[in-house]
Amino acid sequence: METKLSMFFVTRCLALVLALALTACGAPAPAPATEAPPAELTGSLTVLDWAGYDAEDFWTDFKNTYPNVNVNFEIGASDADIYGKMKAGDQADIFHPYTGWLQFYVEEGLVEEIDTSKLTNWDKVPENFKEIGQFNGKQYFIPWDWGFTSILYRTDRVPEGIDSWSALMDPRFAGHLSMWDDGPGAVTVSSYIHEYDETAITEDQLAAIKEEWIAQRSLNLFYWAGEPELVDAMKSGDIWVAYAWQGAYALLLGEGVPVAYANPKEGRNSWVGVYGIRKGTENYELALKFLDSKLAEATGNNVVNLFYYGHSNQDVMTGITDETLKQAFSIDDPAILEKTNFTPNLTAEQRDAWTAMWAEVKAAP
């Protein structure tokens, strides 16, 4: 029934395709379909999106192509919040979940199948990004933003460098560590360190993970929820070592703070954000146009340059010239994706168990 894609397969193919793309040996993009953009098209769309994504920079292609379409945004505070709102019957036409949560929408019939033949930019998306949005052979989501998770650290405080995820538990950094406030994230880190199978964590393993993070809590200064607080704390020197996305890395590099982004021996983690269309929406065609514009280049460039996240349009990624960004995405390291583990999709039981584990970590004496 449900396609739990073998992550090995995904990783290998993705590594192959993106490695090819990064060495500029990709297949030439077919000529874009020419159709006169109907600048007189009117209508209204509602998008349930994360905070900040309502900025026009992130849908600039749509705005320019269809200036008379009204786009409204509802803010979702988290994946759980977006999921809850969609379940509660939110009338948004489009929503933006991340890997780990996608299958819930498919299972519960909340998302519409996407007619990719109507997406002019679809061929610019690498095959394995496409597969992330596929279930049962059908395309339910289009991938949009993506990035790495790894350990970010101050090179002046940790001159010997960091090569393992276990650095997040290292007593040497007591009081200067910061972990992301997320249960599944913690389980992922532990499974990298101890080589557990992330898709099949047993009860004993989960109990051990819980104890580990309770111990880590006394070394941890605070759990960060958003990148700005992490960036501020690393800049001021309160935090030396942190679980972080490459956005924080690029930001700090740009400010001249001496930081490095680790390539741990267990491999980095990666995540992908996708857009889906609500099942039963009356604006299906308009929503498709919106998704298509989201994949376009100007929007993609803004995602990369303004937010330091990756974009699923491979032309955008190959077109990066900024040195800071190249460093942040490790673009000069063609083998990077082979060392990257992608976030798998959770089952509802796993989600409940792992989030409950994290709550018990926080509540522990």
Binding site: A77, S78, D79, A80, D81, Y83, G84, K87, A88, G89, E108, G175, D181, D182, G183, R217, S218, N220, L221, F222, Y223, A225, S236, G237, D238, A348, R351, D352, T355, A356, W358, A359, E360, K362, A363, A364, P365
Partner: protein, 308 residues
Amino acid sequence: MTSAPSPSPQKMGEGERRAGGGWGLDHRATFRWLIFPPFVWLGLFLIAPLLLMAAFSFRSDLRGDLLQVWTPTLAQYARLAEVGSYWRLLGISALMALGVAVAAAILAYPLAYFLAFHGGAATGLYLVLLLVPFWTSYLLRVMAWKLMLGTEGVINSFLQYIHLIEEPLPALLYNRTAVIITLIYVWIPFAMLPILAALQRIEWSLFEAAADLGARPFHQFTRITLPLSLPGVFAAFFMVFIPTVGEYVTPILVGGSSGSMYGNIIQDFFTKAANWPLGSALSMIMLLATLLFVFIAIRLINLRELLE
């Protein structure tokens, strides 16, 4: 035609239609108009949602339609009974709230006193001046406050400058103490309001009489002012204590890894875990515990007597 004023204060002017104009509704008839809006409003927008939450706490998971009929189960409560640390955290949160409420009420009292007796014509101005900072974003204010408390912040720099300490104190931020201090700081202006209201209705003549009888100012305070202001103090205490038990924003901002309160756990189950049944069960427990506390406290203090 006129009915004699009845001795009981509750039975005012019954029955007869007056010639004095207006809608001609007497005390009792007005009751029907007065009672309707609050009960409807609260019934619809407070009770109904809470009943829905209670219902959710007896649900096993969120599968399927949100509003389908489900078979009630005690699974969530059973799960919570197993985890001792949640109960402990509830107790700690309640203790923290107690400390914050007592401190805020005590620290707010002199403010209320100042405004009630020495504010004069400018009382309104002084009052509003204290409330205006709350119209800026709490998030931003606490971010600025964190800046002052941080290891490279104003307070540490100053203390090092005057050589009181050699190394910056990490203990000002990211722990339970920081949460308590910040909460007290935030609540003082609010706690002041009921105390002020109570002080303002004390009649001056009482003080004059006492002074005439030779009472010194301190005795006037302890025998007149303090007792008469107690309803306001209790109101302030409850006003601060009860919501602080479920506080979650401040622990996130300044509490660090070990400063979580019970409210954070509830909040996480809703906003991170999408586990509404478990979150609802946790909320029901907190609600019942707080209700119990208030019930006992009211019995002890006999608030109704004070208010009437």
